[in-house]
Amino acid sequence: MITDILFAMKHELMIAVIIFILLFWKIRSNEPNNALVMALVNGLLLLSTLFFFLNPNESMLFNQMFKTNVLTHFQKSVLSLGMLIVSAVSYAWLLKNKNLIEFYILMLSSLLGMFFMISSSNLLMFYIGLEMSTIPLAAAANFDLQRRKSSEAAMKLILSSSFSSALLLMGISFIYGTCGSLQFAHLNNLLQHTPLTVFAMVLMFAGFAFKISVVPFHLWTADVYEGSPVPVTAFLSVLSKSAVVFVFTNVMFQVFANLYQSWVLVVALLAFGSIVVGNLFALRQQNIKRFLAFSAIAQVGYILVALLGESVQAQAAIFYFLLIYLFSNLAAFGVVGIISEHTGKENIDDYKGFYKTNKFLSWVLAIGLFSLAGVPPTAGFFGKLFLMLSGASTGNYVLIILASLNLVVSFYYYLRVIRVIFMDENDAPIEKTEAGLFPRLALMLCILGIVVLGLYGPAYEYIVQIVEHY
């Protein structure tokens, strides 16, 4: 019994253990050795990632509030891996940080919140997980204590998110009011198609949409990405988003199955809106982090496109895409973070002539961007195409056509960066930057992921298998 719980909650327990170790470490010594802390955390995160292979069983615990199965284990491992990469690529920033342990505690708490959210089968746990993944992150966003932008970003994040969670809560309360239950499994049957439930659905949808930056609930994204410290930005853009999407697909297909007709419309509309608005804004960005933020908004649009498809295919495509997206985006953010930390340069134009001085980083950034853009042979190509293929499976050709054509626009801005890196002349390019061992390893891992995930078909097939099963 106890071992069952241990195995079921292995990820959560692992993260909690790390948090407590760090807490005690902080209590024991006020000026801990940052490198050591990082080594420990990274090691344990690696362990947590590998936990996936440790008896990924199926269970339902704690008053049916906590469910686990292969899929959730998989998702948690993916998130652990993401956290590991974030932590590794931000090596330089973290090393200098005076409050490293606190920072880790916040990030890990946020991760823990995501785990709870992923495993939630109950609106209460979902809500707690959601808040738990956001509130510490808002604090972490402010960790560049001296930067004006950092606190502005944190402020925008916490206020926007509290506003959004108030609306989300209102939606939850209406659902509770109409159904009398918070359990996903019950809601599936209890939820009837009435105006009030549709409204509640929209409210909840908006809550999700806020977290994954769907237009028009996306407006905080770029500002927060720009202002936050790079690890937080990377975390937000990849992990928060992935975690919420994991739950989102689940909620949409499971809880709101009866409202399918309604939410499909919303999803289609917002998918188109996100793609277009994300693209249009990304076109004109100068700051590379803002640029990545808007491009991420467009990417989410494509995820929503996939959501229109048949449940299994859609979820498989989305999870597959997120896995690729994690590697691609972290590769891009990793390089941006390294450069930003070493030189303070964040403008796209600063990257002129980057290839002359930093070949490795240039290629990593380029491959990351290619993958985001969906260019073969990177995995992003497969990810994006499978998303759209899934979207087309229910015959939404108009949307598919529009989304495909928007790919061209997105291509423009990704290539713009590539062009700056490889083609533009510059007398004073960014000087040669030594990334360090951890970041290099992490970036190579990203590249490996980007290359292998697409070309190696069984990766996708495995996800399909898991999804089909649950």
């Binding site: 615990l61 008053n63 509030m65 906590f66 505690i105 919140g113 746990m125 738990m132 604090a139 204590l145």
Partner: protein, 173 residues
Amino acid sequence: MNAQEIIFYLIAAYILGTGIMAVSTHKIFRASIWLLFSLVGIAALYFWMDLEFIAAIQIVVYVGGIVVLIIFSIFLTQKAGDEMPAPLKSRTLPAAFASLFALAFTINLLLHHNFGSASEMVFDSSVERMGLAMLNTGDGGFVLPFEAVSMLLLAAMIGCIVIAMKVKKEEAQ
């Protein structure tokens, strides 16, 4: 209209009135006090609903905790009695329109929704029941959220400390 109802409407009017004052007064300190009144009014509503436990939490956490925190922060960032700048017209109009529209929209939905007949069952909201549920791992237990929230509070606390702590001089450079 019986006494219960009259009391309800009074409390409702009180909550809304103080709420409106809280979001419209120009003095920030007064606003916090109006908020305090409004929250107390909500506690009163809980009392009216025979939910003493919730009412108590409302008073302890909100009135005793959050509002005090807010007042502290006001002191840290403002001089008492400062007039706040008036809201921008460009913001007020759409905001008012959106809020009113949303209000009408929601109320319309609520009025037209059939919630079914009220249950005749007596609602047992004793502190004992809640206590047992809070720490129960089995059916009807809430121990997991309880633990999760405690982790959240821990994290929030640590975050607050780091952010709000005065930065030492040499770090500032």
